[in-house]
Each structure stands twice: as C-alpha cells, then as structure tokens.
Symmetry: C2
Subunit: 233 residues, 2 copies
Amino acid sequence: MPDDASFVPTARSKARRLADRAAYDEAAVYAILDCALLAHVAYVIDGQPFVTPTAFWREGRTLYWHGSAASRAIRSVHGARVCVTVSHLDGLVLDRSGFHHSVNYRSVMAFGVARVIRDRAELQTVLDRFVDRLYPGRAAEVRPGTVAELKQTMVVAMEIEEASAKTRAKGPAEPMDIDEGWNAWRGVLPVETRLRAPEPDPINGDHATVTPDLALYAEGERLDDVLKRALKG
Amino acid sequence: MPDDASFVPTARSKARRLADRAAYDEAAVYAILDCALLAHVAYVIDGQPFVTPTAFWREGRTLYWHGSAASRAIRSVHGARVCVTVSHLDGLVLDRSGFHHSVNYRSVMAFGVARVIRDRAELQTVLDRFVDRLYPGRAAEVRPGTVAELKQTMVVAMEIEEASAKTRAKGPAEPMDIDEGWNAWRGVLPVETRLRAPEPDPINGDHATVTPDLALYAEGERLDDVLKRALKG
C-alpha cells in the first residue's frame, strides 16, 4: 500500500472544527496508534454506551485487542459497530485567558465492525504476534497457551473502515490585544510517560536482569518511543 | 457524605469477572478520577458509538468536561446517556506464558446522563472552577471570557449514577507448575507520567519562570500526584 494511502472520512470521522489539527492519511493515523499500548473501545448495549480501556495492537489496517471470554466488552461486540480511540497527553497549555487554556495531545478515532476470534489455532497465532509485537522474539520464549487458557481468551479484530488523527503540538495561541495587562504565565507544561526500573519477580533466579527480548524497555525510556521501535524490531 | 459512601452497582457497572479488582465506593472511584486530566467519553449517535478524549474534572458526584459549542461530542450529548472512563497505565506485567501477561492499571467507568451548560454566567463560574481546580488561585489571574468566547464554549455536566473502579497493582500471578522449564523473564516494567521542564512563551518577559499558581507543576513531578494535590490546594 503506498505511503500516502488515506482513510476516506465520512460524516462519522470528519473533523467538525480545528481542521488544521486533523489528518486522515495512514501514516499520520498509524504513527499515533503504533506508539500506544492502551486504546479505549466504545460499544453500545441496549442503547447504553460503554467505553473500556484495553491493550491493543495494529497489523496493517486491522486493530486487535483481547480479553477474557467472560468479559462483556468482548462478548457483546461481535458483529457490532465499535469506535476505538487512542490518545497521548503531551502537555498542558497555559494562556492569559481561561478560554485559551488547552492541552497538547495526539489522538486517533477509528471506526469499524468488531469480529471476535474464537478459533483456537488462530487465537494462538494472533496472541503470539501480540507478544512479539511488544517484545520482539519473546513469543518463542514463553509457554504456549493450554486448551483451557485459550478457551478463556478471546481476541477482537476490527478492520479500520475510517479513521481520523488529531494533534496539537505547539505553544499557546497568538497573543490577543485584549490580553494586555493580564500577566498570567503563558507556556506549555510538557508531560511524558517513561519506563521505571524493571521489577523482577524473585523466581527469576539467574534471570534477575531482563532478557534480550525486553532490551528496548530500559529504565528511563519513553514508552511511546519503545513501542514504536518494538514494532520495527 | 460519609467516607464509606458507595455507588450501587447494577448490571451496567458490576464487574463480571476478577471481582477482586473491582470497587464501588466513592473513595476508590474518586482517588482514580482525581489524579487524571484526560477522560474518554462514550456516546451514541444513530446507533454508532463514539469515544472522545477530553480534559475533565470532578466536583462532588458530578463530572464536568468542556469543548467547543461546534463540537459533535458536546452538541450531541445533551440529555443522552454517556459513559466516562478514566484510566492510568502503571506497568507491563510479564510472565512465563503469553496467557498470563497483563498490565497494571487504575481505571474508572462512570455512567450518567449528560447535561450541557449554556447559561453564560454558569459557564464562566464552572470554567473558573476548572482553572482553579488545576492551578489553585489562577482563575483570578486570567482574563475572563468575552461574550463571544463564552458563546463558543460549552460545558457538559454528568452526575454519576453509578461507577466502578478497577485496579491491578501487583507482580505476575502465582507461578504455575506447567511453567517449569520456561525461563522467560517474570516481573513488572513500571511506567509513569511526569512533567518535564516548563516551556515559557517568549512573551512572558519578567514571567519567564512559572507563577505561584503553577508551583505544583514542577519539573520531574508525577502528573497524577500533582493533580491530586492541586485539588486539595
């Protein structure tokens, strides 16, 4: 697929406002999805909206997430329309008027129809790919699922029908004449999510230090950077 | 309200599984809400679920968020059922089987009916309270909204009808006999979100360093800690 492939926005995903913050091309959408671990999945049961946070990953135009076979968020979405939103908070933006306070962020809303994967062989394959997506090479190092474990697990796949990316990554807006005389601090308070030192389980014995599949996840690294690099690993 | 006040879970919010991770008391729910800036709000338009990330805050049993008067996420929710989910990712949990990989997290799902605040006086009041909730004392330092600005802004209020908190905050599960012989690293890779150094706008002049209302937001502080302390400030 060419690099400039785009999702075609309909009324569902087209930005109503601040169009300069929006993008629909795969590169922009994937760049935000691929450095996140958590997505928020929205679904509807009897007219009531629900939104559940979940670990997820992407392969091509398909998003995957998994959960317990007993989970409402999993059981109820097969064949249903869902919305998957991923967001990164990058900073607090302060201005001289309350109105112009804002946040810096990167977010994606993706729409599609959920399909629950129950087939045991397919399940094992996609779960292995999830482990390797996060920790390159690790799927070969971990014990495969038992029949009982795979019965307790489901994976949901959603092909992205349309998606939009929104980003704000700058300082406060242009100063306004009417702000003169107000001296509240203007600027950005950036935030970032980083890894702390690994906490090994005592059972590791000789493996108290992390194994090569986890090398990317070193203390002090930015989580978004690591997740992006792991995908290419 | 007594400290042990609880939300009463119905089928909508009652945890289906891993009940040991769930709580319905106000203290547990508020502790998770009050150290977050971003919420994910789910709503339904013509059967299609949407989930939008937004800055939010809590006062008593009411959640507030705001947005442009032109925003679909704001305009379409008045009188509608919504679900507001807040989540913190605290770590990646690794085990010797792919099946037992997990994440440490704190999350809240809250349910209620949205009410859009359009009255200009009420709007100015709640927006001032939002500024002060984040940056104690700042509302008095910033220029009040103009009539035009307030026309462009809406705030949504949602009284929490029911809510559930879910938390996982521990190492990998008990080791299993069938894991013997598999030596993949077991443990937790903790993550946390912290403030970086403030980035002042050049226009500040003498105010290049942050003003006292922002003192909590010092470089290196954890964002969740700061948000909690700001609320008490």
